[in-house]
Structure formats: C-alpha cells, structure tokens
C-alpha cells in the first residue's frame, strides 16, 4: 500500500540484503560448524556404541527432538549472562541441530558393513585409523544427502534468533515494519530470500544424492 519503487529497493537491498543477510549467513555458518562438531563427536560415540555415553547421547537426541527450538533458545538467552545475542543463538541452534546431525552420522556408521571393520582390524590397523581413514569417509558420502537436508532445516531455524534480538534477516524485517508497515511486502521479501537459499541447497542435495547412489551402487545403478 503506497510503496514507491524506491521503497521496494530500500527494503529489499539496503535493509534485507545488505544489513540482514550477512548476519543470517554468519549464523548459518557458525551453527553449522558447531552442529557438525557436536554431531561428529556424538555420532562416532553412538556408532561405536560406547556404553553409558551412548545412552546419554541417545537421551540428548530424544530431548532435542521433543522440545521446541524456541524454548531452548529462550532458555539459553535467560541463563547466559555473557555473550551477544549472536553467540547465544549460535550455541542454541548448534545444540539442537547437533543432535540431528549426530543421529545421521550414527546411522551412517552403523550402515557400514561389519566386515570392513573386521578386515581392517585383521590387518592390525588401530581403531582411530579404521575410523577416520576407512569408515568416516564412507559415512560422509552416504550421509551427505541427509546432512544437506538437515542444513536446510538449520537455515530455516536461524529465523528464531530474531526473537531474542539478533539482527538477522527476520529481525531486520520486523524493524522495517515500523517504517513501512506493509507486512505482505516486507515479509514476502524475507520469505523469497530464505526460499532462494534453501532451494539452492535442496537442488544441490538432489544432485549429490544421485551421484552418491551411483557411486554406492556402482554398476547396478542405471
């Protein structure tokens, strides 16, 4: 309602793309690295079925599947005295998404044929070597499509960071609403930006999946 072309330009480029998007991307990158670290460590522990730790991490994964991200984020925001809204958001999103990554990597490790372990152990290769040189490279290949799908969820999940005041894309939109008060345009643009990010990744995921299937199935794949 009553927005000039110049206003559209200001909303889309100056506010959203130039000041909002960089922080969203930083959030995505930060929590991706955090989630991967948690996921890899937890996934290996669960894949090797180390007693006690395995059960604790299983409970952690269940908790993250059952408790809303919003609640976890608000909890971290209330408990943490230090740290910017950015670092709190990264921590909360990493903790939640790490649980999902952990389960994906665990599934990948368990899907590797036991014979490979036995063959490598028979050649008296130490467990870390077997794990990092033989098992994990294969797991990364098998689990890649699922991990990319999880990153799409992670990107969407960063929008909740706006609710604790992290000045990313969504929050920029909320602030811009006070000036332009046209929700359909402002939030419409944010939806489009998020869609482009996520859709590009989904497309990539599909291509990777096709490649992985071809590689895993070998000649059987047509």
């Amino acid at each position: 309602m009553g927005l000039s072309l110049h206003d559209h330009f200001t909303i889309f480029f100056t506010i959203l793309i130039k000041s909002g998007l960089p922080l969203t991307l930083k959030l995505v990158l930060g929590s991706f690295l955090g989630a991967c670290a948690i996921g890899l460590a937890g996934g290996v522990i669960r894949g090797l079925k180390i007693p006690v730790l395995d059960q604790i991490l299983g409970l952690y994964a269940q908790l993250c599947r059952g408790i809303p991200d919003m609640l976890v984020l608000l909890f971290f925001y209330a408990v943490m005295v230090y740290g910017s809204t950015y670092s709190i958001s990264v921590l909360a999103i990493s903790v939640i998404q790490g649980a999902y990554m952990q389960e994906i990597i665990k599934g990948g490790i368990l899907s590797i044929d036991k014979g490979q372990w036995e063959a490598a152990r028979a050649m008296s290769l130490p467990v870390p070597v077997v794990l990092f040189r033989i098992v994990i490279p294969q797991v990364m290949l098998i689990a890649m499509p699922a991990l990319i799908g999880q990153v799409v969820l992670l990107i969407k999940g960063t929008s909740v960071a706006s609710t604790i005041g992290c000045l990313e894309l969504t929050k920029r939109g909320v602030i811009a609403m006070a000036r332009f008060s046209n929700a359909l345009v402002v939030y419409g643009y944010i939806l489009i930006i998020f869609f482009i990010l996520c859709h590009a990744l989904t497309m990539l995921g599909r291509r990777v999946e096709r490649k992985v299937t071809r590689k895993v199935m070998g000649d059987l794949y047509e």
Partner: protein, 222 residues
C-alpha cells in the same frame, strides 16, 4: 539458581492453562494439516491439470521457508486486509507449513504403491476418485504412518512459535514466568518437561500403531 518448587506451586495453574492451549492448537492443527496434506498430496500425485502446478509450487515454497516468517506474514499481512483472530491465523500458518510436509510424505506413499492395484481397481469398475479414496489413500497413509507421526511431534513443537502472535501457549507461559520471577531453570525446565511428555506420548502412540500394523500385515501374509 536451581529448581524452585515454590514458584512452580504458585504458577501451576498458568502452566496447566498453557499446556491446555498447546494441546488444543496441536490437535486442531494436526487434524486439519493431515487432511490438507492428503488433499494436496493427492493432487500432486494425480497431476491434475493446472491445479497441480500451483500445489507443487506451494509445497516447494512452504517447505523451504521459515515457519516464523510465514506466521508473521499471515498475522501482520492478513490482518490489514480483513479482521481475523490470532488463533485462526495460528492454525492456518501451522496447517499451511506442516501440511506441505505431509503432502510430500503422502505423495511419496502414493507413488510407492504398485500401479497394478490401480489398474485392478479400474477393471473392477471403480472410478478414478473412488480408486484414490478406497484403495490408494488408505494404503499410502498406512505406509507412511511413521513419517506422519513424526510430523505430529513436529507440529506440537511448532505451536511454540505461536507465542509471538499473542497466543498464550506453553512456551509463552514459561517466558512470562521467567520474566516475572527470574528463575530460568524452573520456568523453562517445567515447560520442557511438559513438551517432552507430549513427545513421549506421541512416540508411544506411534509404537502402538506399528504393532497393530504388524499384526495386520502378519494376518494377511499367513
């Protein structure tokens, strides 16, 4: 800090009210989202001319944009055009978002059914829509009941985002209790326990459904 039982005793009624709101919104959203998902999934599966172009674009777009921004979009955008209450918007946002996921699940289920069944139904004189309703959809739903139950727990989690559009559900109550007493552990842990209980109940129902399905399949097989 630590867990403060006195505050919990004083705010018990608030929590129970919040829990009730969460359950109410979850149930309504789940029922409508499943029906909506089956409808859209069937349209995508059948490739209805013209219509399926729109529904396909809809499922792609809504699955790859954040729910929080969608909620804002509907809440602030629609309320300018016509007066709608926050609760209607809340349910609508949940249905549109999670229904898109369910639609893709149902479509996958429909596609996995052997074509021969459809042909058999036609040769018995059933029409296209009768075949869909009596033969294909019941099987697709049964095949994908695990994924649909996962969506049920996701919908319960998603209701937490409704706190930002003035709906006083569980996360909102936790947030308010915390800002009143500044006892984050008590406030958020209580809500988390409620959410986790709901999650466990859904998981229990899922297991029961699995067992029933197994029994049924066993009967058919023998």
């Amino acid at each position: 800090m630590g867990f403060n039982w006195r505050i919990l005793a004083g705010t018990r009624d608030m929590y129970l009210d919040g829990l009730l709101v969460t359950i109410l919104y979850s149930i309504v959203a789940i029922i409508i989202a499943v029906l909506w998902g089956i409808l859209i999934g069937s349209i995508n599966f059948r490739r209805v001319k013209g219509l399926s172009l729109i529904t396909r674009a809809y499922t792609t777009f809504f699955r790859e944009t954040p729910l929080l921004v969608q909620i804002y979009f509907w809440f602030y955008g629609l309320s300018r055009i016509m007066p709608v209450s926050a609760s209607v918007i809340g349910v609508m946002a949940l249905v549109f978002n999670d229904g898109a996921f369910i639609a893709e699940i149902v479509r996958g289920g429909l596609q996995s059914i052997d074509r021969g069944q459809e042909e058999a139904a036609y040769s018995l004189g059933f029409s296209k829509s009768q075949t869909l309703f009596y033969f294909l959809i019941p099987q697709a739903v049964r095949k994908t009941q695990d994924s649909i139950m996962n969506m049920v727990s996701i919908i319960i989690k998603d209701t937490s985002l409704l706190m930002w559009i003035t709906i006083t559900e569980l996360t909102y109550v936790a947030h308010r209790v915390n800002s009143k007493f500044y006892q984050p552990i008590t406030a958020y842990l209580t809500a988390a326990a409620f959410y986790f209980t709901l999650f466990l109940i859904v998981q229990g129902i899922k297991k029961l459904m699995d067992r029933r399905a197994e029994k049924k399949n066993g009967l058919i097989a023998t």
